[in-house]
């Protein structure tokens, strides 16, 4: 019955429509409204100025004012376009009016947690990055690289430049001391632990939620910010195939100045003589001249292949893609290779029901070296390898000096492969229950498997002693996540509108680990692929069979309420209750509220009268979020295995695993944000400023307890940290004519971090370096104390070397040529109390600057990125100085070379001070020419003979082409302690940095 009525009305409307068109007469004003590409715009509003006459365009963009001939001014407006006024002369008909897109599409709809919002209605601080503005191609293989420098307050640091190496994202300064400071990644609504590592070529856009008003809907997981990734879903219009292929080369950026073989031997012998040892390289030793750096590094290739299919019709969207990247490393025997596929689909089944799904699968293969900050790293062997020894013996085998493997063998011979496989998928259903009320259901799962295998062959000494050593570790994680929520949107009259969301989320994660090893192989052929072939099922110094499983469960309830008054005043309130198996029984529920207000001043008279702002919005937000990545089972009293040999047997034993804490809970962050969004020059210039203050409490700390309890620490929620800062981002369309356009974007952020408190009995937390020389243990390197920030270098003030005849009383008994340290506390001797603040290692400022130019078919993008106001500890320089670098030529030699700051024999022999001293703290601020690309779109008329080709683009690009810095080490961005929040920036055995040049072709077909 009802349906029939609808049908009838619909038919009548059609009829009316059909009959109306032929009624056009010469007395009418008629015309068509199109966009800049001549595509008709329907439902555009056309009004005659000074009258009440107004109409909207039809499906073909057509409009008509019957009987309105005569001079008139038409005002044409359409959402997302600049309003245009057109003078119409009497008798003029069939006017074509082209509307221009608003420079900034304030009407854009962006994804927020559990829903979408018009960008102009946002009350929180969100940075949006579209795929056009990402650092794609070349060696970019993950999301973090893609957005580095592109969003204010989002600090991306590639701490390891190896193919597939570590890269961190920290939003508005780290909150946590002992857990990760990485944000939460949500891909198409699915919370993924692997979101950072999906292929960036499939991304449509990324929203970085920065303040608590935006992230509190994610409760105990929102504390570090949230990165919402939306993948491509198919472009409007016809089916299209894009194929993109590029090849590139990487060139070493860092080249240490190294000694020749003879110079090295001379220095070693001279030092030995001074020490009363016999010559290290006696005259009988055949001195060669080997450049180990050159022998172990290379010019390396990178290639990308991508193909995508997209299609879209009235009821469905489809996107399919396949991507391949292979990057060889500039260090030999390293590479990264990834295959990935993605599917995204949506289908509207009927007026009420829309379904969709996403699927991603990828396999990544890495050949690795160990880029660790200690002497076991291949880079350490390379940098310290004696240049006076040869690589090979006459018979082609590796030369071994003192029976030790040489540096090239150490790089080429071991096998170290990690393979990561990732599959995730999710589906959703949107059901419009009644007008304004929608039910959303989504379910997804993710399976990730990481397999790492190592083999040390018999060509190496350790392999020879053990008959080859093989081991393999596999970890898998499986997640399911089911979420559903109701969304109610309603307008009460014209002034009031609300949106309310309530929902639940359930998640379960299972992590499994398995490891095994063996040694004693008859052959090197198997690598780690046949452990049973080894005669000894356990491995010296490595893996014995091991397995473990960890399970995490979460149940959450959330809600959000948005209110808008007259489209001027906007308010958002959110609330989330997270229940997690990680939280102790005394704190099982975490409640996370937030609230924000925004006011648009744009239409206020006093603002309008200024004729300055095309947009002006003030936002204020406050909220509580958490960090639930506190590990599992921490609150339980547990026992772990610890056995021993008795008689001829090995017996299992059990001992307490840790000191339990039933109060264990999330880390809590309270954030206040105030932001101002400003548009100028009709939206051509947009500026956003945000200031924020975050206070994190209940920090997860391993609080020292007396070791008489059997443990050094107990894990407790205690301590607090503060981050405050300011962010500025500017987008400007500087110039735009038919042929030429130029736009600029710029962002800069400042963050000041301050530790407010630790525990009662903890006044500081120190982190040590790893062993830098093989003869000493790690020394205090960073120190975290209230009032300071994470990653503060702590060590001695270096004061040069002690000269012949000089008596330096604070270092009694020291000899000429020994390092001299400042007696900071003036107590007359050098003790650990003289260690002092040497610098911060986390940049206080980060910035990005991009300029995009278009001229006819050419486009040129130039992007700079930088980080400022921080230092790095150049441990490589310390190591090199006393071994193979040309700096060693300038070492102290009594009576011969005394006017120098380089000690006679390094820093390890003196009983005073430490090798952690101010001499190797270097300012690391840098500006990097991160990406340059020049593309040419071949004119359509040149290729139109080939019917199925729509477009052909040829491009060249470069990455990391130039780095402007005073830093002298491998790269100012590296940090071999990158995985530790308190570790502090150190450049020690880091993968060498490189420049990349790429040439590519992109073909669009239909």
């Amino acid at each position: 019955m009802k349906k029939n009525n609808f049908l009838l009305v619909f038919l009548l409307l059609l009829l009316f429509d059909c009959t109306a068109t032929p009624a056009t007469s010469q007395n009418s004003i008629t015309g068509t409204v199109t966009n800049e590409n001549d595509v008709p715009l329907s439902k555009a509003t056309v009004a005659i100025k000074g009258t009440k006459k107004s109409t909207t365009t039809d499906d073909r963009g057509h409009f008509e004012f019957a009987g309105s001939a005569g001079k008139a001014i038409l005002v044409v407006s359409f959402v997302g376009y600049e309003t245009q006024s057109v003078m119409v002369q009497p008798g003029q008909t069939d006017i074509t009016i082209k509307l221009k897109l608003l420079a900034e599409q304030l009407s854009d709809v962006v994804v927020i947690g559990y829903g979408t919002a018009r960008k102009k209605d946002l009350t929180g601080s969100i940075s949006s990055i579209k795929s056009d503005n990402m650092n794609l191609g070349g060696t970019t293989s993950n999301i973090a690289q893609a957005i580095q420098g592109r969003a204010a307050g989002v600090r991306v640091q590639q701490t390891d430049f190896s193919p597939g190496g570590a890269i961190s994202i920290i939003i508005r300064g780290g909150n946590s001391i002992n857990t990760t400071n990485e944000p939460l990644y949500v891909v198409d609504g699915f919370i993924s632990d692997n979101g950072k590592f999906i292929s960036p070529n499939d991304i449509e856009d990324i929203q970085v939620l920065k303040d608590a008003s935006a992230t509190a809907i994610y409760g105990a997981r929102g504390g570090n910010g949230v990165v919402l990734i939306t993948t491509k879903k198919g472009k409007a219009g016809k089916m299209q195939i894009d194929a993109d292929a590029s090849n590139g080369l990487q060139y070493l950026g860092y080249k240490p100045g190294l000694l020749t073989g003879q110079q090295y031997a001379d220095i070693q012998n001279a030092t030995a003589l001074e020490d009363g040892r016999s010559p290290v390289f006696p005259s009988s030793f055949p001195i060669t001249n080997t450049n180990w750096w050159g022998a172990t590094t290379q010019q390396a290739s990178v290639l990308n292949r991508g193909i995508s299919f997209s299609g879209n019709d009235k009821t469905s969207k489809l996107y399919l893609s396949g991507n391949y990247i292979k990057q060889d490393g500039v260090l030999k025997n390293t590479n990264m290779e990834r295959y990935s596929i993605r599917m995204g689909a949506e289908k509207r089944l009927n007026e009420r029901v829309k379904v969709g799904g996403n699927f991603y699968g990828a396999s990544t293969n890495n050949h690795l070296q160990r880029y660790v900050a200690d002497i076991t790293a291949p880079l350490f062997s390379i940098l310290t390898a004696a240049p006076c020894i040869p690589i090979y013996n006459a018979d082609g085998s590796y030369y071994r000096y003192l029976g030790k493997d040489n540096a090239l063998a150490g790089v080429l011979e071991p096998t170290n492969i990690s393979t990561n496989r990732l599959v995730n998928g999710n589906i959703f259903i949107d059901y419009d229950i009644i007008k304004d009320l929608t039910y959303h259901f989504s379910a997804g799962s993710e399976f990730a498997q990481s397999t790492a295998g190592q083999y040390i062959p018999k060509t190496l000494t350790a392999g020879a002693a053990n008959g080859g050593i093989a081991q393999e570790q596999m970890s898998t994680s499986f997640r399911w996540l089911v979420e559903n929520y109701l969304t109610y949107k309603h307008n009460f009259g014209t002034a009031h509108s609300i949106t309310a969301v309530v929902g639940t989320s359930n998640q379960k994660d299972v992590f499994d680990n398995l490891a095994a090893g063996s040694s004693g192989f008859s052959t090197d052929v198997f690598l780690f692929y046949n452990l049973y072939a080894g005669s000894n099922p356990t491995v010296q110094g490595a893996t014995v069979p091991a397995s473990s499983r960890v399970e995490t469960k979460n149940t959450s309830y959330f809600g959000r309420f948005n209110y808008s008054y007259n489209d001027k005043l906007l308010a958002t309130f959110t609330l989330r209750d997270d229940v997690s198996s990680r939280f102790g029984p005394n704190n099982r529920h975490g409640i996370f509220p937030s609230g924000a207000l925004a006011y648009k001043f744009t239409d206020e008279k006093f603002i309008k009268n200024l004729h300055t702002f095309s947009n002006l919005k003030l936002r204020v937000g406050y909220g509580v979020t958490g960090n639930d990545r506190i590990g599992d089972y921490g609150f339980l009293s547990r026992f772990s295995a610890y056995g021993t040999s008795l008689g001829n047997n090995f017996y299992a034993g059990i001992e307490p695993a840790s000191l339990s804490n039933p109060d264990l809970k999330w880390e809590k962050t309270i954030q206040t944000d105030m932001g101002l969004d400003m548009g100028f020059l009709k939206g051509k210039l947009n500026v956003t400023v945000d200031v924020y203050k975050k206070k994190t409490t209940d920090l997860l700390l391993a609080v020292p307890v007396g070791q008489w309890w059997g443990f050094a620490t107990q894990t407790v929620n205690v301590g607090s940290m503060q981050n405050q800062g300011i962010e500025l981002s500017v987008n400007s369309d500087n110039y735009k004519t038919g042929n030429f356009s130029w736009s600029t974007f710029f962002n800069i952020a400042y963050n000041k971090q301050k530790l407010l408190s630790l525990a009662d009995n903890v006044s500081r937390i120190s982190a040590n370096t790893a062993n830098p020389s093989g003869t000493v243990s790690g020394k205090e390197f960073t120190r975290l104390e209230p009032g300071r920030e994470l990653g503060i270098l702590f060590g001695y003030q270096y004061a040069g070397v002690i000269k012949t005849g000089e008596t330096y009383t604070p270092e009694a008994g020291s000899k000429p040529g020994d390092p001299k340290y400042v007696d900071v506390n003036g107590d007359g001797k050098i003790t650990p109390d003289d260690a002092t603040y040497l610098g911060n290692t986390n940049p206080h400022y980060t910035a990005g600057l991009g300029n995009d130019f278009k001229y006819k078919g050419f486009d040129l993008n130039i992007f700079f990125q930088g980080a400022f106001d921080y230092s790095l500890y150049n441990m490589n320089r310390l190591v090199l100085e006393s071994t193979t670098s040309t700096d060693a030529l300038n070492r102290f030699v009594a009576g011969k070379n005394e006017n120098t700051d380089i000690p006679r024999e390094g820093y390890f022999l003196s009983k005073y001070g430490s090798y952690v001293n101010s001499r190797f703290v270097e300012k690391a601020s840098y500006v990097r020419l991160k990406a340059v690309s020049l593309g040419y779109n071949v004119p359509v008329n040149l290729i139109k003979q080939i019917k199925f080709i729509d477009a052909l683009r040829v491009y060249v690009s470069g990455q990391n082409l130039a780095t402007f810095t005073n830093y002298t080490g491998t790269d100012p961005e590296v940090n071999t302690h990158g995985s530790s929040n308190i570790g502090g920036g150190i450049d020690f055995n880091a993968f060498p940095s490189y420049k990349t040049f790429v040439f590519g072709l992109k073909l669009t077909l239909h």
């Binding site: 003192l402 149940t555 034993g653």
Partner: protein
């Protein structure tokens, strides 16, 4: 209709929490307090973990406590141990340590780790009802013996220390700052525990009703008595020390192994001379003894570090006839074709082709017939029969001066190594004391005895300072300051009652 739909979907949203039935975590890979101590096998696992902490820090990688690092405190700090590497061991070797020395902290940590495991096992085994009384007594006696070993070592190094027993662990207050207990209080506990243990523990584990696998290496009556004797020695309670040592001898189960070098081969894990030892298996839970003790650049014992070595000064003190002098690597042609040897004089410059070693590596944990792998399976003898003989000799001398019995006891040990025997004539109590101290050095170097011996005999400052002077170093040892080490600085920071003034 719509109302119903709204209801249905609202319920779908709100009732969904049932997916996770409970948010109590499921534990797969470790035990919890509900299932850790249930059966006899669990109790045995609790006991085993106490033995396991005689070494560490990991099951498969042992360089802590009795497998290497304890020797940094007991031997490096004396006239016989030497480390040519700088840093923490170098400080100890030159007697210039302070409270932030990492090796002091490591030993403190590892010894207390054993004590914590012991306390935990006592606490959890005591209330168990699934084991017999005999089993419970046996397990608790083993644990208390092991805890006594730990407290003995702890008090040797630091004197008054924090006394933690199962009582404190039952109701822990992790932020408390207890005062260290007087040494006498700790010794009273040890005397009680060891006396009790000696009454419970079997002579050996052959056909033992509780442990059915005939294992050696578990705590025995002889071990408890020997440790008790050593404790009485430390207390200068000479008569009791001599009596208890005699008790061990009268058990007639121990004898000296015929060959000194043979005693320490990796293959000889346990013999008639072993009273209590830390055992290892090169593959399953190997130690890093060989790495640390093995000679540098040696052509047979490849790739070792000569980290814990012996001073030339001490090596030179052996008589050439003494087999124990052969338990070293004083000269060899290295893998680099250099001749490694002792310098003719301190500071001499070696000619081409020669390297003068700063110290001499010992074969004690690095015999050339053992493992070639990274880890090794050497036993470390914490208590062995030669110590019982020399202890009784020393106690007798302290009680009544030189006697033939004492001389015979010493000569038993000497004769095994073909060393020149002593004769009673000409010895005073003081000179025999010196001879015993010298003998103990030659016999027990790097067995964790030297520092305690020197202190017990009141010769720590005299002998170590004399050695330091001979090698041109400042004579830094003073008593009573150096009787005990400073408490590790990190522990002092946590508990100011650990007072380092005067240490």
């Amino acid at each position: 209709m719509n109302k119903n739909k709204i209801l249905i979907f609202s319920l779908a949203v709100l009732l969904q929490f049932s997916c996770n039935k409970t948010l109590d975590p499921k534990v797969y890979s470790s035990l919890t307090s509900t299932n850790a101590f249930v059966t006899k096998s669990d109790a045995m696992a609790g006991v085993n973990s106490v033995y396991a902490r005689l070494k560490g820090p990991a099951v498969g990688d042992n360089f802590d406590y009795w497998t290497v690092r304890h020797f940094a405190l007991t031997d490096l700090t004396t006239d016989l141990g030497h480390c040519s590497y700088g840093g923490d061991p170098g400080q100890l070797s030159l007697a210039v340590w302070n409270s932030s020395n990492g090796l002091l902290a490591e030993d403190w940590r590892q010894i207390y780790k054993l004590i914590a495991n012991a306390n935990n096992a006592i606490l959890n085994i005591s209330p168990m009802t699934s084991i017999t009384d005999a089993e419970k007594k046996q397990f608790l006696a083993e644990i208390k013996f092991l805890r006594s070993v730990a407290y003995m070592d702890l008090t040797d190094a630091w004197g008054p220390v924090i006394l933690v027993t199962e009582a404190e662990v039952a109701n822990p207050n992790y932020t408390s700052q207890p005062k260290p207990a007087p040494v006498a209080d700790i010794e009273a506990l040890l005397i009680k525990d060891l006396t009790d243990a000696a009454g419970v523990l079997p002579v050996n584990y052959v056909n033992n009703p509780i442990y059915t696998s005939n294992d050696y290496g578990r705590a025995t009556k002889g071990a408890a008595l020997t440790l008790l004797s050593k404790l009485y020695m430390r207390r200068h309670d000479w008569q009791k020390a001599a009596d208890v040592a005699k008790q061990v001898m009268d058990m007639n189960v121990y004898s000296l192994y015929p060959s000194y070098l043979g005693l320490f081969t990796e293959a000889n894990k346990w013999c008639s001379e072993n009273i209590f030892s830390v055992l290892s298996d090169a593959n399953l839970n190997g130690t890093e003894l060989l790495n640390h003790f093995g000679p540098l650049n040696h052509p047979v014992v490849l790739d070792r570090w000569q980290y814990y070595a012996v001073t030339w000064d001490f090596w030179n003190s052996y008589n050439n006839a003494d087999d124990r002098k052969k338990c070293y690597y004083p000269n060899y042609t290295g893998v680099d074709n250099l001749l490694y040897k002792q310098a003719p004089s301190i500071g001499a410059i070696p000619p081409a082709g020669v390297s003068y070693m700063q110290d001499v590596a010992t074969k004690k944990y690095a015999d050339s017939t053992g493992s070639t792998t990274y880890y090794d399976g050497h036993s470390v003898d914490i208590l062995r029969y030669a110590d019982v003989l020399l202890s009784r000799a020393e106690a007798l001398n302290e009680i009544s001066g030189p006697t033939q019995e004492a001389i015979d006891l010493i000569n038993q040990v000497k004769n095994r190594s073909h060393a020149v025997a002593l004769t009673l004539a000409g010895f005073t109590q003081a000179t025999l004391r010196d001879a015993i101290l010298q003998e103990r050095g030659w016999e027990f170097f790097y067995e964790g005895k030297r520092r305690a011996d020197l202190i017990r005999m009141g010769k720590y400052d005299v002998i170590v300072n004399a050695y330091l002077t001979r090698i041109g170093q400042p004579a830094t040892i003073s008593m009573p300051k150096n009787k005990y080490f400073p408490y590790p600085q990190a522990q002092v920071n946590l508990n100011p009652n650990l007072d380092n003034s005067g240490r």
